[in-house]
């Protein structure tokens, strides 16, 4: 893997979390949840550090990280946008909303914009099916989103003035 060296305080965070779970292999998923919560994502170097603490091969950690959709190896944007792709949202036009976000921000699902401001992800069911289609930006939930609202939602989070072209 790469030769990037983690900052000492990052290594300390990993060590502390692992110690909290007594460096037990069976707690791997809980450890990953905690570390991702603290660091925002789980890059390869962090996975190596976790493997070292738990005395297990890195491949085992990597296998778990890539298996579950909740874990990510790339950092989310400052404003993570999630489009609900549950069936209820899908039949009420979620795909069009997703296409609109992809087009406006010029990124694909799972990517962040180059300025790090936005990232797009799909998720399966927020549980607010009455409001379908649903989009969340951070903690905020937008319900009954129409394709032409996408621009407005993005503008809400952009500091730069968005020029209105109509």
């Amino acid at each position: 893997m790469s030769k990037i060296k983690l900052a000492n305080h990052t290594i300390q965070i990993v060590k502390d979390v692992c110690a909290e779970f007594e460096n037990k292999e069976g707690e791997l998923i809980n450890i990953l949840h905690q570390v991702q919560h603290k660091l925002g994502y789980l890059p390869a170097e962090v996975q190596e550090a976790i493997a070292k603490e738990l005395k297990i091969p890195v491949v085992k950690v990597y296998g778990v990280v890539t298996f579950y959709s909740f874990f990510t190896m790339v950092p989310h944007g400052e404003n993570p946008i999630s489009i609900c792709m549950g069936t209820a949202c899908y039949v009420r036009g979620a795909e069009q909303i997703l296409d609109e976000f992809k087009r406006e921000l010029k990124v694909q699902v799972g990517e962040s914009t180059s300025d790090g401001k936005f990232s797009i992800n799909c998720l399966r069911c927020v549980g607010a099916c009455g409001l379908a289609p649903v989009v969340t930006v951070g903690e905020k939930v937008y319900g009954r989103v129409a394709p032409n609202q996408v621009k407005e939602i993005i503008a809400e989070y952009s500091n730069k003035n968005v020029t209105d072209d109509v």
């Binding site: 998923i29 909740f70 549980g127 009455g130 032409n148």
Partner: protein, 594 residues
């Protein structure tokens, strides 16, 4: 004592539309009027009628306010609490006779429902154990602890309760098998990894009535001889996790879990384990591997978890809704429970009814009710007066049923017989605008993401199915493709390792058998009858009907529409992204879809 209770829905849906703010405003208004000792504001679990949220219910007069906004708090307090007059404009309007209905029991949405698993949702404060106890909570546990283990298991068997996670395995029998396997340590696991997209039954129960799950797991622990319980819950359900943690702490303080429960020689405690987003973890063996910190891959059964489960010990896995039924069975008796439902499916089933339906929400109906009753009476019919086309039950593992199946009674066996399944309780209603080929493709996309990759038929077979479906929706299908889908689908069903793979082709096979015409139109005529497959569509302006109002021009997100005011407009096909906004906005039916 409070004279009045103001119940505010704190379910995820209503929370997303500012129910928290409504609660705060109500409290502030009550305080301002000096009424804080007369009326109490309570945040409850989901009322179920999500379509009309946020919901505020007032007791004791049972007034049910819908679509409440935070600014309405002042009027509710001033008029209803202080002056005793209902706020008419916030009442539900009957869609047929346009009359206001103030009591939820007279609404079509609630009339056919029987709430057993959801008995406390929207009724009690889920963060207060005393309210649960006031509703006979933990009374069933007390009763069970006076029985022998086999007596209690016998009651479960006689009740006829079957697993609500989708499989429908008899719960009492499952407990008996776990009881009969002797071991120094056994485990009770609650499967709260609700992965079916578009379904939120388990989440609502955990959010609205967490103590019922704790009580039921403890009962199960006593019956099978386990001292430890684990709830495997999705990390994406923060509210449910918080409420469950609060409930566990309270139950521990009251001595209802922990050591020597209710003074008996019986110990039981519950821990949480977090899922990390993997649909396959709904499968028992995969779930157990995930709890052990491994990749959630299923393994061949036998051995069943009841013999060798979590850490190799006998483990009983039940789903949230199954557990929610347990305390009631002991309270009201197995005869009462088995009197509801059909010959082989007893009790009720909770469904998250969503899609193109008027009353989106969470419902609990007796087994044996027909799909028609659920869709047209409880669900209030199809949105915007459109034509019903299909109803999908069982999520990505289920099938799409059509008009001719509407009188099928809802129970495990009848749904299987018509090519779908009960599933965990997702029910998605589709109208004439939904393309069945796209729906099948959508489900396959989900399966592709969620297949764990362990066995070949599921990993590769479903990918091929998806490729063929994609080809068809892009207008590149050929007649032989439909046969290929059928043949491959059946092979995947027969040869996959676990339930996910064995049921993955169901949405494809059921749409082919019920909507073959639609597949043929895509393949032979390169036409999408529902007007949804983008590659097969073209938006154009009918010059005779266009009045040049510029509405489409102003709403087009890509500037593909041009034209002068009061002159017919045009769509530039090279720019058009086929989003359909122009069609939706045009008031003169001048946008043609060809």
């Amino acid at each position: 004592m409070y004279k009045m209770h103001l119940l505010v829905c704190g379910g995820t849906g209503c929370r997303a539309t500012q129910s928290k703010q409504i609660e705060e405003n109500l409290r502030a208004e009550l305080k301002a009027k000096g009424l804080e000792n007369d009326a109490q504001v309570i945040i409850t679990g989901c009322f179920g009628f999500c379509e009309k949220g946020p919901i505020v219910k007032i007791l004791p007069d049972n007034t049910f306010y819908v679509g409440v906004e935070s600014e309405d708090a002042a009027e509710i307090v001033e008029e209803h609490v202080l002056k005793g007059r209902r706020v008419e404009r916030l009442l539900y309007t009957d869609p047929e006779n346009k009359e206001h209905i103030s009591d939820s029991k007279h609404m079509g949405f609630y009339q056919k429902q029987i709430r057993i698993a959801l008995r406390n949702c929207g009724f009690i404060d889920p963060e207060n154990i005393d309210e649960y106890i006031a509703r006979d909570g933990y009374f069933a546990l007390g009763k069970v602890l006076e029985m022998s283990q086999t007596e209690a298991i016998e009651i479960m068997k006689k009740s006829g309760l079957r697993g609500r996670g989708g499989g429908g395995f008899p719960t009492g029998l499952k407990w008996e098998i776990a009881y009969n396997n002797k071991a120094d340590q056994k485990y009770v696991v609650c499967n709260a990894d609700e992965g079916d997209p578009g379904a939120f039954m388990d989440r609502s129960i955990l959010e609205g009535d967490p103590h019922s799950i704790i009580e039921a797991m403890t009962i199960c622990g006593y019956c099978i001889g386990a001292s430890k319980g684990l709830v495997y819950i999705r990390a994406e359900y923060p509210l449910a996790i918080t409420r469950l943690q609060i409930a566990l702490k309270q139950a521990r303080e009251y001595g209802l879990i922990g050591k020597n429960i209710l003074g008996r020689n019986f110990d039981f405690d519950i821990e949480l384990r977090y899922g990390a987003g993997a649909f396959v973890c709904g499968e028992e063996t995969a779930l157990i591997h995930s709890m052990e910190g491994l990749r959630g891959e299923p393994t061949v059964k036998p051995p069943y978890p009841a013999e060798s489960g979590y850490l190799g010990k006998p483990t009983n896995v039940n789903n949230v809704e199954t557990f929610a039924n347990v305390p009631v069975i002991f309270l009201k008796g197995h005869e009462w429970f088995s009197s509801i439902g059909t010959a082989k499916s007893k009790g009720t089933k909770v469904f998250a009814i969503t899609g193109k339906i008027n009353n989106v929400g969470l419902i609990e109906v007796p087994m044996g009710i027909t799909l028609r009753e659920v869709i047209y009476e409880v669900g209030g019919g199809i949105k915007d007066g459109k034509m019903f086309k299909a109803v999908q039950t069982g999520g990505p593992s289920g099938g799409c049923l059509t008009e001719k199946h509407l009188d099928t009674p809802i129970d495990y066996d009848s749904l299987l017989a018509v090519g779908s399944m009960m599933g965990s309780g997702g029910m998605i209603v589709m109208d004439e605008d939904d393309c069945m080929v796209s729906i099948a493709r959508f489900y396959l996309e989900f399966i592709l993401e969620e297949s764990c990759g362990k066995c070949t038929p599921c990993r590769i077979g479903n990918k091929r199915l998806h490729e063929i479906l994609k080809k068809i929706t892009e207008g590149k299908g050929e007649p032989a493709d439909i046969e290929r889908l059928k043949a491959l689908g059946n092979v995947i069903k027969d040869t996959s390792l676990c339930g996910l793979g064995q049921t993955a082709p169901n949405p494809v096979l059921s749409t082919i058998s019920n909507f073959e015409d639609e597949y043929l139109a895509h393949v032979n005529e390169k036409r999408c009858p529902a007007g949804q497959c983008k590659a097969l569509l073209k938006y154009e302006v009918d010059e005779n009907l266009c009045t040049g109002c510029t509405l489409c021009f102003r709403n087009c997100p890509v500037g593909a529409i041009t034209g002068e005011r009061r002159q017919p407009h045009h769509v530039n096909q090279s720019l058009c992204i086929k989003c359909g906004v122009c069609l939706e906005k045009c008031k003169f039916n001048a946008i043609l879809l060809t």
